[in-house]
């Protein structure tokens, strides 16, 4: 396996959790709810996935439990912001803080335990095609789920009546209520879908990406997923592109940190000199790259106020109390 192929593969691995969590949050935000608790939901998914896989011995049991855990945990958020009409920003933060706390406590028992890795699929022959074979036909199952999920969400939002209803609720909950659409039901379901996705994304981290449990192992990925939704202007395909862009940034900086200059001595003079220059950047600065990139990307995408206003679901974050 060549270095390039390895890099491409790891990019997909880094992008997949971001993609899944962001697609879930996209659906939530399209329904007019801002859930800032993605980080907390992911970390709950990660601990539930790891723990149940460990107890049952099956990675798949872990995955299913992580999805359920994410959906249930998001129900707490839904109850507060929908039924009790609490502030969505504050409640999302609360979800993240609680998720980090609870997962830390549950996960104490799992620290240092060997993980169970979800095995990759390997389609014979096809997966042996150079460069792209393993990328397209030899990955873990969740990679394929993430791609299918993106396409299904796209189809759902723009090709089905239920999706139209969801977009309508996000555009104007007042009008939707007047027409007899149950804003509450739509939003409860959307939030739980988002929670399930975040749970799955978390399980990917603890069962595929690094099959073990480390406290706070999501390391801000939930927040990056939130930023991706803004970056993507609430469109699924752009979320896909954004997730791979961030995956690439993460992986490239990791590879720069890992590679030793000795391995690069074959390079021609100038390029070697450049490479050694890059290598002289402290590792902390390289690690900060994904976070800085998030800020820069947000700036670039938000600076066009008109466009942002056009794309943002008009009811996003606004409280809704149905009058009966």
């Amino acid at each position: 396996m060549g270095t390039l192929e390895a890099i491409l593969l790891t990019i997909a691995t880094a992008a997949t959790p971001l993609l899944i969590a962001a697609i879930g949050e996209l659906v939530v935000e399209r329904s007019g709810v801002l859930n800032l608790g993605v980080e907390g939901l992911m970390v709950m998914g990660a601990v539930a996935g790891f723990g149940m896989a460990h107890l049952s011995g099956s990675a798949w049991v872990g995955i299913i439990c992580a999805i359920i855990a994410g959906a249930l945990f998001s129900l707490l958020f839904a109850f507060l912001v929908l039924t009790l009409v609490t502030n969505q920003v504050a409640t999302g933060l609360a979800l993240t803080l609680l998720g980090l706390g609870v997962s830390g406590m549950i996960g104490e028992a799992f620290i240092g335990l060997p993980g169970i890795r979800l095995e990759a699929i390997s389609i014979p022959v096809l997966s042996e095609i150079p460069l792209i074979g393993k990328l397209l036909f030899g990955q873990d199952p969740i990679f394929y789920i993430s791609i299918v999920l993106t396409i299904v969400v796209m189809w759902f939002l723009f090709r089905t009546r239920a999706g139209l209803t969801l977009r309508a609720v996000g555009d104007s909950h007042g009008s939707a209520h007047a027409l007899g659409i149950s804003v509450m039901t739509v939003r409860y379901l959307a939030i739980m879908f988002g929670g399930a996705c975040a749970g799955l994304a978390g399980a990917f981290l603890s069962l595929v990406y690094t099959p073990q449990w480390v406290e706070n192992m999501t390391a801000g990925r939930g927040w990056i997923a939130l930023a991706l939704v803004v970056f993507a202007s609430w469109r699924p395909l752009r979320v896909l592109a954004g997730a791979y862009l961030f995956g690439a940034i993460t992986i490239v900086q990791l590879h720069i940190q890992a590679i030793s200059l000795a391995e690069l001595e074959f390079l021609p003079g100038v390029i070697f000199w450049l490479a050694s220059l890059v290598k002289s950047i402290p590792s902390q600065f390289l690690s900060a790259l994904p976070y800085l990139a998030t800020v820069i990307v947000l700036v670039l995408i938000s600076r066009n106020r008109r466009l942002t206003m056009m794309n943002t679901p008009a009811s996003l974050g606004k409280p809704f109390v149905p009058s009966r």
Binding site: R161, L164, T165, R167, A168, D171, S172, G174, S175, A176, H177, A178, L179, G180, I181, R306, M309, M310, P313, A314, S323, R324
Partner: protein
């Protein structure tokens, strides 16, 4: 033309003792109502009389506390708009229930209960709209459409459900007189097709012209069932209001000498700030001391943008495009413009003219923290609560603001009382210039008369008053001249003696200013 239903025939809809209570307010109190087949039935009442509450119960979006609804003689418990639709009740909302980010066809699809291909819906909508003479592009985004076009979508959406009863909530309040005529034709055609219509309005002329029967509501109770053809506009008004409400007395402006120009807007241009806002193009206008000038126009033609520009909520590029009392104001902030002696009253009461969750006395500071800083603020910017409470009390007395408690939160007041307070807050400063956007929108008749009179009195005492309003009756009542805003452009003002509903209506519909003769403003 009016068809009296056969005696004894089962009415299409019968309502008995319908009651809705919000907190301590009986919004609808034992309301009875009978609508025959093929009848246009008017529901009359002031703002706050309970009309909207009643129709929301009929359409299933509110749940009654008591009473029953009979549909074709059968008791029905209408629990949702979907159920109302399946019975055959359609609704055209006053504030529209449309989705701006979706297309017309998608909007229509959302209220059809069957899952239908969007293209099929679009074709049906196009065909239906053409047959009623209400042309509509099903693939246009609602956000890009005018108010009149949006109402068409609501009507077409309602008709596609083939209802037997169509409820229209204040449909003409957003239309030009000519558009309203078009609507009446459509309604008469629907009646001739055997459909019943429940027509909600407070415009008596329309009701007399078109309706076969009327039910009048006041403070949530039915005060009368009558035949509007047998009544005069005055007798209907008395039933609605319950007391003699005199309209504002417009004393003629001082003869002979023309007042000094106090408001001067010259070639004001403004780019749209949001995707759905209207650019202003070359707006010019003078208002002199002693006069009230009105700006008419259908909602969403740039009036809000104009108010923001004149008030200084948005600052202009050049100092001389807006001048007050012979001083440049274009580059001044709203606070600096207030210091020039200008008072402003915005359209929205809650969230713009007042902070809903703040007390009235705190809301006093909103527009007067700098103009009256000597009186209201001490060292370090410490607020003198004594003084602001006293001033608030004075305003409340002056404007007859009725409220529960000494100093309630703004949101706890009725629309009319809060509006009286917001207007009084500015009048209390005796501004040389006053600019008011929609002075009596959604306000009861008593409060409206008081507000209008106070604006006329202010002008006659030597101030210049500019009134932006969608309500033509109001403008004809208070103004000395009326200009019309259409699509971001402002016509020249017509002196009131020359202005008629028809002329103003044509300008509101976008007729070239040249079509209407005028010679004011020279």
């Amino acid at each position: 033309m009016s068809k009296v239903p056969e005696h004894g025939a089962t009415p299409l809809l019968e309502v008995r003792g319908l009651t809705k209570i919000f907190g301590e307010l009986r919004a609808c109190d034992a309301v009875d109502l009978v609508i025959a087949k093929g009848e246009i039935h008017s529901l009359l009442g002031e703002n706050g009389a309970g009309k909207s509450t009643l129709v929301k119960m009929l359409f299933g979006s509110l749940e009654p506390n008591a009473g029953e609804i009979l549909w074709n003689g059968n008791v029905e418990n209408i629990r949702s708009p979907g159920q109302a639709r399946s019975l055959g009740i359609g609704m055209v909302f006053q504030h529209f229930s449309l989705f701006e980010a979706l297309t017309a066809a998608e909007n229509i699809a959302l209220s059809l209960d069957k899952e239908t291909q969007i293209d099929t819906i679009a074709e049906k909508a196009r065909a239906l709209s053409e047959s009623y003479g209400l042309p509509l592009d099903p693939y246009s985004l609602v956000g890009d459409l005018s108010v009149g076009e949006r109402q068409r979508i609501e009507i077409i959406r309602c008709l596609l459900q083939e209802p037997d009863l169509i409820i229209l909530d204040e449909p003409t309040s957003v239309l030009t007189p000519q558009e309203a005529d078009k609507l009446f034709e459509t309604l008469e055609r629907l009646r001739s097709e055997g459909k019943s219509i429940l027509y909600i309005s407070h415009r008596l002329e329309e009701v007399k012209r078109m309706c076969d029967a009327a039910t009048v509501l006041r403070h949530g109770k039915v005060v009368n069932h009558c035949d509007p053809q047998q009544e005069t506009a005055a007798s209907l008004a008395n039933m609605m209001v319950g007391e003699e409400v005199t309209s504002a007395a417009r004393t003629p402006p001082a003869e002979g000498q023309e007042g000094e120009v106090l408001i001067e807007v010259k070639n004001l241009n403004r780019e749209p700030a949001t995707p759905f806002s209207i650019p202003l193009r070359d707006v010019s206008l003078d208002v002199r001391a002693g006069e009230v000038v009105g700006i008419a126009g259908v909602a969403g033609n740039g009036q809000g943008e104009l108010f923001e520009a004149i008030s200084g909520e948005v600052i202009q590029d050049s100092p001389s495009v807006v001048r007050f009392r012979n001083q440049d104001a274009g580059k001044l902030s709203i606070t600096e413009r207030r210091l020039q002696g200008v008072g402003f009253v915005p359209e929205e009461r809650l969230g713009h003219g007042a902070v809903p969750e703040m007390k009235l006395s705190d809301n006093l500071l909103l527009s007067r923290h700098t103009t009256d800083s000597k009186a209201f603020l001490g060292g370090l910017g410490v607020i003198k609560h004594d003084t602001i409470s006293q001033t608030t009390k004075r305003i409340n007395q002056e404007m007859d603001v009725r409220k529960s408690g000494e100093d309630p939160e703004a949101a706890a007041l009725s629309g009319g009382n809060l509006q009286k307070y917001i207007i009084g807050r500015e009048l209390d400063r005796q501004p040389a210039v006053m600019i008011v956007n929609q002075p009596t929108w959604g306000v009861d008749a008593g409060a409206a008369a008081r507000i209008r009179q106070s604006l006329i009195d202010l002008a006659r005492s030597g101030s210049a008053v500019l009134v932006i309003s969608q309500d033509l009756d109001e403008l004809f009542e208070v103004c000395d001249a009326i200009a019309v805003m259409h699509n971001g452009e402002l016509s020249k003002p017509l002196p009131i003696a020359e202005a008629t509903f028809e002329k103003i209506g044509l300008l509101m519909g976008g007729a070239e200013p040249g079509h209407v003769e005028h010679d004011h403003g020279t």
